[in-house]
């Protein structure tokens, strides 16, 4: 007999059961509906394509717990505990539906209770309860005693740990009292049976045991209901929101920015918005990201800005924006006429840029993508930061002077290098080389896109020259644009100057099309990422190849033979925009392994855990925010630890950042920074 079928103070148990359920579920829905309405304050964005793929993503990430297990390889075992907790608790969740909902609330106890199914299920739950309790203890020890930097020992976390433990304990207590009251002498489920044996042995009367069972049962039910009420009101909202967020995660490139449509600016003066200055300027997906955050802090401990002592922490940015939404959103909803998506209504109180997220934080991001790579719940941090930059740059005209200089140069001269560095003109590097420089009316299938840094900065021009010689030796038929080449637009886009980027993209695409270009070879991973993933939005569909991919290919086809011995110990640094952004990890390594007597050592932080050089996101030109050290100086320490004589870069920014760091440390004699292509040229048989 389920305790629900009894009568309490002349009220039928069923009435109490369903009234309690209605109250709790009502509270759950009330909060849920508020969160939904707040989310709808955001701007429109279409994430409803490829539903099948989205469902698959959601299941693949959540059910096998890939979301948290993916970081276990980084010596972060918390994912294992989370997976155990998730699977065990899922079993408990199902048991609540069957043994409390169906058996209790719907009066089907006669069909379920005392069946072998119940015995087996409860036995499994016993094991799960032990595992859950162990993980809870580990979680408590980590949060309150070890205190790793990524976790804040919040009260919320404590409440949930206690709640989950109560659920485990009450389940076992319930089984124990039930068996003892009915005089069942079984050995399964083990914990419940043992407890029943103990209770029977104490000589407590049958009536007390029965009453005890009833009270334990109702208490258990109450805790389950409070759990349901509490979840959407705490950071444990992630239990629900992360599932939805996995469904809506980007299907294309890992880090994608939403363009501001140029047409939006044909709107009457003053009504257009540039980037985000108010919470409702973000899209609904951005707001959903806030709900999904579990404050696990993986982003916090992998962010190069944070690790070098800058004020930026991706975790805090997301957390503060979430708080801002919850604080100001209800007011915006109440003032309904102003609450349309993307409306101009200013929420009272704090200003988002300044009070919630500071300018210093906004300009510290290198867009390296480490945060998004480790995030278990698919939060897109970077595009929010870029949206904030867009507002600062295009609406408020507020930015570091170094950013302004770079952007002015982009606007007036079509490249980001101002001053001394631009003393080498774009066309200059081509002198003395027999190159096919495209002129009006020409056609070419394959274009070697040199990139601003490779054409303008003396150190990088050397790598560009190596590149042309390697291409020729490999028999690649290619053309260049010479002084008609401008910037791809990446630094403008990452610095928030979106229109400049779009104009450059459109111009470049037109130029490529006028020469009938099909394939584009790049040396700079930033150009590579931009042309490959961002130009298609503007009608530019070209095959884009990074030189590491091309050279690896030429070597395996036998078109390039690396025969000269190098006799060098080297390490390879993964450029963020090649590695994390585009998953090109193995090609550069294959090339290095093909060089005779070049010994490749890996840094501890490599491949997807690679650490930024400090030059991405426009920070090649924008002054680094104040911190305890510079990002490139921290990275060079990683290099030094491997004991190599050469650090190999496959990105012009990384190369410069390394040379700077080596100079700063004064270790020029023992450590060299080389572009991968320079090593390839050195190892090539000289023709």
């Amino acid at each position: 007999m389920s305790p629900v079928s009894a009568t309490y103070w002349s009220i039928p148990g069923y009435v109490i059961f369903w009234v309690l359920f209605a109250v709790a579920f009502g509270l759950f829905l009330q909060r849920f509906y508020l969160l939904y309405r707040l989310m709808r304050l955001g701007k429109q964005e279409n994430r409803f394509d490829q539903i099948g793929q989205r469902i698959k993503n959601m299941l693949v990430e959540v059910v096998p717990q890939w979301c948290t297990l993916k970081t276990v390889t980084r010596k972060d075992l918390a994912g294992l505990a989370h997976a155990l907790l998730f699977w065990s608790f899922s079993l408990f969740f199902i048991s609540y539906i069957i043994f409390i909902g169906l058996a209790g609330g719907f009066g089907l106890s006669s069909l379920i209770e005392r069946t072998p199914f119940e015995t087996v299920y409860f036995s499994i739950l016993d094991i799960a309860a032990v595992l859950v309790t162990l993980t809870l203890i580990l979680a408590a020890v980590r949060r309150y005693i070890i205190r790793p930097p990524r976790l804040e020992p919040t009260a919320e976390a404590g409440i949930i740990l206690i709640m989950v433990f109560s659920l485990m304990a009450l389940h076992v207590l319930g089984v124990g009292f039930d068996h003892a009251a009915r005089g069942v002498h079984a050995s399964w489920p083990p914990l419940g049976a043992a407890l029943a044996g103990f209770l029977s042995g104490t000589g407590i009367s049958q009536g007390t045991l029965e009453a005890g069972y009833r009270w334990v049962w109702w208490l258990h039910y109450l805790v389950i209901l409070s759990f349901m009420v509490y979840i959407p009101r705490s950071k444990h909202l992630h239990i629900l929101a992360s599932l939805v967020n996995a469904f809506f995660k980007p299907l294309g490139p890992k880090v994608a920015l939403e363009p501001i449509p140029l047409e939006a600016l044909e709107a009457p003066e003053g009504s257009a918005t540039f980037g985000a200055s108010k919470i409702q300027d973000f899209t609904w997906k951005d707001l959903l990201d806030f709900y999904a955050c579990a404050e696990c802090g993986r982003c916090h401990v992998n962010c190069p800005a944070q690790l070098t002592g800058k004020s930026l922490s991706p975790r805090e940015v997301i957390h503060h924006l979430k708080e801002h939404l919850l604080e100001t959103g209800p007011g915006l909803l109440a003032n309904k006429t102003d609450a349309s998506p993307g409306s101009q209504a200013e929420a009272p109180g704090k200003t988002m840029i300044g009070d919630v997220v500071t300018e210093e934080e906004i300009w510290a991001c290198t867009t390296c993508g480490a945060c998004q790579e480790v995030c278990p719940v698919n939060i897109e941090h970077i595009r929010k930061i870029i949206d904030l930059r867009r507002n600062l740059v295009m609406a408020q005209s507020k930015m570091p002077e170094s950013a302004q200089l770079m952007l002015r140069n982009m606007q007036q001269r079509g490249h980001p290098w101002a001053g001394v560095q631009s003393m080498r003109l774009r066309g200059d590097w081509t002198s003395d080389l027999e190159l096919k420089i495209l002129a009006e009316g020409d056609n070419a299938d394959t274009l070697f896109w040199v990139g601003c840094t490779g054409a303008l900065v003396e150190r990088n021009v050397k790598a560009t020259l190596s590149m042309t010689r390697v291409l020729k030796a490999g028999g690649v038929d290619f053309a260049v644009l010479g002084d008609a080449e401008t910037c791809c637009g990446d630094p403008a886009r990452r610095a928030g100057y979106e229109f400049q980027f779009q104009m450059m993209a459109e111009q470049n695409i037109e130029l490529f099309k006028s020469y009938n270009i099909k394939e584009i070879i790049t040396t700079c991973p930033h150009c590579y990422n931009t042309i490959k993933h961002e130009y298609p939005r503007y009608g530019g569909d070209f095959k884009v190849v990074h030189y590491t991919e091309l050279i690896a290919d030429l070597i395996s086809q036998g078109k390039l033979k690396l025969t000269n011995e190098l006799n060098s110990k080297l390490t390879y640094h993964d450029p963020c925009y090649l590695g994390r952004y585009n998953s090109v990890y193995s090609e550069p390594r294959r090339i290095l392994q093909a060089i005779p007597r070049a010994k490749l050592e890996e840094m501890e932080r490599s491949r997807d855990t690679g650490f930024c050089c400090g030059g991405g996101g426009g920070l090649m030109w924008i002054e680094e925010q104040p911190g305890t050290t510079k990002i490139n100086q921290m990275r060079i320490e990683d290099v030094i630890k491997t004991g190599v004589d050469t650090v190999v870069a496959a990105c012009p920014y990384c190369l410069q950042m390394f040379e700077d760091a080596i100079d700063h440390k004064g270790i020029k004699e023992s450590l060299k920074a080389r572009d991968l292509v320079e090593l390839v040229e050195a190892a090539m048989k000289q023709f």
Binding site: I260, E269, A395, L405, Q411, Q412, R413, L425, G427, F499
Partner: protein, 264 residues
């Protein structure tokens, strides 16, 4: 408050010396290929000054540029910074005018636009650097002129102008309308914002010919020019290095002082 700003399109001052070529025969600079011309840096600061006044007092900014049809680019740049309107003054008769001829053409365009409270120019052009057009223009228009401004304020229908002098600045008051030439100390020109870029994109820049502004052919006669270019050359730089010796640093310093005193 309505402002007219005169701007000039010049060779990018950032082109490397090696790329800078002249034709000594024709006494002309040969523009290098592949380097787009830019707005003269001082004129850009004049636009910035106009924008700052507009931010405070509203009003309209009109930009004019005498030059080739390509000068529409610098007008668009000024519009993207916050100017409202602009015209290019282009006519074969305007080519190779000296400062007096240029000021005359600008004055005719300004008279056609009319309704101004302030006229702004850069302190000098970033290419020839004569620094005369502003003052001559004021003379033609019969306006007071303040040169080398590093700050301009409008107070009680009057202009309060900070003017750079060699050991600081002086503050002058001028009536409206006046002509002010702007120096770089006014500060970094703004980066065009989203709205500005769009305005510039949409804007059509009309071209005014000599007859459109009623410029008299007799005034554009190059034979009557007040100035003449007699020669053009790229300055050569010679560096010689001499180590000043001395038994002690003190002696070396004394020898250095001696050497310098002989050179002065």
């Amino acid at each position: 408050m309505n402002t007219i700003v005169c701007v000039k399109q010049v060779l990018d001052p950032e082109i490397p010396p090696a790329k800078f070529k002249i034709d000594p025969e024709a006494k002309q600079v040969i523009p290098p290929a592949g380097v787009p011309p830019v707005i003269s840096v001082y004129d850009e600061r004049a636009v910035e000054a106009a924008c700052r006044l507009k931010d405070k007092h509203k009003g309209k900014i009109t930009v004019i540029s005498m030059g080739s049809a390509k000068a529409a680019d610098v007008i668009k740049h000024a519009i993207s910074m916050g100017a409202d309107d602009g015209f290019v003054l282009q006519d074969p008769a305007f080519e190779n005018l000296d400062s007096f001829g240029t000021a005359y053409v600008l004055s005719k365009a300004i008279q056609k636009i009319g309704g101004y409270d302030l006229i702004l120019c850069g302190r000098q052009a970033a290419d020839w650097g004569a620094g005369q057009v502003g003052s001559i223009l004021a003379e033609i228009l019969g306006l007071p002129v303040v040169t080398l401004a590093c700050a301009i304020e409008a107070v009680d229908k009057k202009l309060k102008v900070k003017r750079m002098v060699s050991d600081g600045y002086e503050v002058l008051e001028a009536p409206m309308p006046s002509l002010v030439t702007v120096s770089s100390e006014i500060g970094l020109p703004r980066l065009p914002g989203g709205m500005g870029l769009m305005m510039a994109r949409k804007k059509q820049i009309p071209i005014w010919k000599a007859k459109d502004i009623g410029a008299e052919p007799s005034q554009l006669d190059k034979a009557k020019a007040h100035t003449e270019v007699t020669g053009l050359s790229v300055p050569t730089r010679k560096t010689e290095c001499e180590i000043i010796a001395g038994g002690t640093p003190g002696e070396a310093a004394a020898n250095l002082a001696l050497k310098i005193s002989k050179l002065i």
